[in-house]
Symmetry: C2
Subunit: 369 residues, 2 copies
């Protein structure tokens, strides 16, 4: 029943209505469909990463605005409820209703999760969104996460990341041998086959390790976030691209029982708002990275591309690692097959209009500047 | 007052409530903030362009879902209420509450509108969203459109478009002389300075004109939409990139009085849903273009890049045209200055991680395929 009819009926049948018990009182549909709710969202990120964590602050604000403050989500930074890398478990166990994370942190549970974030030498951000929203990617992940009582949403991203900060130059593939490099997941696996010793170090501990020389190199995100950690003061070489994160998307996890308890409007609000968060975050990174890159350059940072032979050696190892992983992990195999087909098609098309346009405009811009 | 408190109060004070006049009856906040509304949206596109028009169908569906069907938007294809190129006027005059269009159609009103869609040799899609959402672009356009009683939203896009269908090869800048080319806006202005005779022809009339040789070439969108119009049957050469639309974004226009009459929730629903439409449309184009490109190739279409000297001659003319336009149009000048600064910064950054990643991956992919 809609509210207008309800009011009209109540007004004409006023005396009768007054004799109803509270439980029998006719409720307008809208009040049933938009109940008051308070949820908690735990993030893998600290508040200082204002673009990543800021995505969740925007999300909570929007959900409140879209529901006249009836659906309120309190956001918590990494460590406030659970540590940053326990978001998956906290959502799966129902400790919180929702969480913000990067799926590849849970690579150890099943390597297939890596595709939810982006894999080395994988899709760029546009292509990833194409695969997720129109190429079957999201459907696969909904099925995958259901095993863990989780419903997932694409939730912001960083764009292509940087390759990280190095104390010494990387001139040949041999320079990778014995290199203690803070890098994880598939990138670590791939690099270890070329002699790198991958190091798993939480964000806050990277700076002292790199300063003391406990590690030789560290990757983080891109100019805007890296600048905050001050790596430019202790490692002169800033390499690009971060070929292991040609795109890097965040994930919003909602616990399945919590999700299923939601009225349809609230489910839709979560879905739609996640799209706004995604565009907001990617475009914010794009807007704030250039100035940070300029400041880093002004501080003396040397910007260098990884040498092509190094990139090619890593590329070859990457696809060997994927084939081996597919042979032992059924979920990885299933997602990889969908992803690989989409990647082939996208490359065919992006090579034509998109990449030709980009290369031309960038080359002319370099000439004029 | 929230619904729960309202119900409790009504139940305990039932007899008293029954004596209220209808107008004094206490309404729950949610009913006031989510009134029943029926709006009309007129589109510049026909239903056959299922990715463009489909964006508005998705928009209307989502707005209904987010409001429990209280806010209903009926969508109309080009010509059903007003012709496709009169969306701006129809919204400005209040003929309809909202419209879907591409702003550059209204280039004649003020050339500044072109930046809302994308200008020749301009930003790519990611960069455009960065400028609109975090670089001041949207604020500038809100101010600009306010002069016309319109509130605008970014509303889908096509990605980089194709250069179009040509009956003869374009080998040198001289081949542009006298070429009757269906192309409009800034691209037409730029090309006319190199001898092209730009033709303004509505979508449905392009095929017969190209078939008869009334025109020599025509540009439309990209493989998926172009294939529907059958250009491959009458023009063998399919050029790329469409340097005049390195990005091409749609616009949602809402009439200012209609906008101002909306409760805050509905305003927010329009804003947030437009983000979903944007990602949905761009990623749908990315997902459907590759197969169309393959089918066109299989039908005998010859895919060719514009020769670099042709691109460079057009590039040089483009920026001369912009400088001349800025000298005579205050709004163009104002938007151009913001846009140009953002473009310079984005190119600096995209050249580093994003473009280096794309180029490497695409080159390896070409090698392996």
């Amino acid at each position: 029943m809609n509210r207008r009819k309800f009011l009209a009926r109540t007004a004409t049948a006023g005396a009768a209505a007054a004799t109803f018990a509270a439980s029998a009182f006719p409720k307008p549909a809208i009040a049933q469909s938009m109940p008051e709710l308070k949820w908690r969202l735990t993030s893998s990120f600290p508040k200082s990463l204002d673009t990543l964590y800021g995505g969740s602050e925007l999300f909570a604000k929007r959900v409140a605005e879209l529901t006249d403050n009836r659906f309120q989500i309190a956001t918590f930074a990494a460590g406030e409820i659970v540590p940053g890398l326990q978001v998956f478990d906290a959502v799966q166990n129902g400790t919180v209703e929702m969480g913000q994370t990067a799926a590849y942190y849970y690579f150890g549970k099943d390597p297939a999760v890596a595709f939810d974030t982006g894999i080395p030498f994988g899709l760029n951000s546009r292509e990833h969104l194409g695969w997720m929203h129109h190429g079957g990617g999201l459907e696969l992940f909904r099925e995958f996460y259901r095993q863990y009582n989780i419903v997932n949403f694409v939730y912001g991203g960083t764009g292509a990341q940087m390759g990280g900060w190095f104390r010494k130059e990387i001139k040949t593939v041999d320079d990778l041998k014995g290199l203690k490099f803070r890098v994880g997941g598939f990138a670590g696996l791939i690099l270890s086959r070329l002699g790198v010793v991958p190091q798993q170090i939480a964000g806050g501990d990277i700076y002292p390790a790199l300063e003391k020389g406990t590690i030789d190199a560290a990757e983080w995100v891109g100019p805007y976030d890296d600048e905050k950690l001050g790596f430019n003061k202790i490692a002169p070489y800033y390499y690009y691209p971060g070929w292991w994160e040609g795109c890097s998307f965040g994930a919003l996890y909602v616990g399945l029982p919590a999700w299923e308890s939601l009225p349809p409007i609230y489910k839709r609000i979560i879905e739609t708002t996640a799209f706004e968060v995604t565009t907001w975050m990617v475009s914010k990174y794009d807007a704030v990275n250039p100035a940070a890159l300029k400041r880093l350059g002004a501080s003396g940072t040397k910007l260098l591309p990884f040498p092509r032979p190094v990139m090619e050696a890593c590329f070859d190892e990457a696809f060997k690692v994927y084939d081996e992983t597919a042979a032992r992990s059924p979920w990885f195999k299933k997602v990889y097959e969908s992803w690989r087909k989409f990647q082939g098609d996208e490359h065919l098309w992006f090579r034509v209009a998109e990449n030709t346009f980009d290369n031309f405009v960038l080359s002319m811009s370099a000439k004029r500047s």
